[in-house]
């Protein structure tokens, strides 16, 4: 069990689990009832799966100078995915995609109403 096989095994495990995260995202997309719950499936596994895959790439490349670029790739994804999900959620809430029956509590309604009154 020299060092290289340990690195290989860890990288392969990260690879497979990262791919499972994408599968979880896809299953979540297919199975969830409405748009707002599908956003959970679309964003969270994506970021975590990418982290695992990038660690696998870092382990396999063996060059420490690649790590900052990999961390940058992950930070970009970590910053951009929540923002895009927020924008999609905001657009969904204001348009016809809202299914009241799936919501437990809706704190946003009075905020939207107040914003509507101020701008109206």
């Amino acid at each position: 069990m020299n060092w290289q096989t340990v690195v290989d095994v860890v990288a392969l495990v990260c690879l497979v689990v990262g791919s499972f995260m994408s599968l979880a995202a896809a299953v979540g997309l297919v199975r969830f009832p409405d748009l707002l719950s599908r956003m959970h499936a679309g964003t969270k596994p994506q970021v975590f799966g990418l982290l695992l895959l990038l660690t696998a790439v870092a382990l396999e490349s063996g060059e420490p100078r690649m790590v900052p670029l990999l961390v940058l790739a992950w930070i970009f994804q970590l910053l951009t995915v929540p923002v895009s999900a927020h924008m999609v959620g905001r657009a969904a809430y204001r348009s016809k995609h809202l299914h009241e029956e799936n919501l437990v509590a809706d704190e946003l309604r009075d905020v939207v109403a107040r914003a509507g009154d101020e701008s109206g």
Partner: protein, 89 residues
């Protein structure tokens, strides 16, 4: 077929299934915003496939492509989300 090949084959099959599920949602998605979310996940799967290919061939040439793919996906979905909300306000 070393352990390496088997693992990469398993990853390929998993990513193919994930892409099939995402394409199903992309085709069926009742509204435009469902399709935007599905496209985002599809781009993440493309990024994952890039990473798997990089691990398999022991090179890191496509890292910049991975960053660009994730950024382009973000720009696309934000633009669509912005325009969908526009005609309501």
């Amino acid at each position: 077929m070393t352990v390496f090949d088997v693992a990469v084959w398993v990853c390929g099959v998993i990513l193919a299934l994930a892409a099939a599920g995402t394409l199903y949602r992309l085709a069926k998605g009742p509204s435009l915003l469902d399709r935007v979310i599905a496209t985002d996940v599809l781009l993440a799967i493309v990024g994952a496939a890039l990473a798997v290919e990089m691990v398999y061939h022991h090179h890191t040439d496509n890292i910049v492509l991975l960053v660009i793919v994730s950024l382009v996906g973000f720009l696309g979905s934000v633009t669509v989300a912005r325009n969908v909300g526009l005609d309501r306000s």
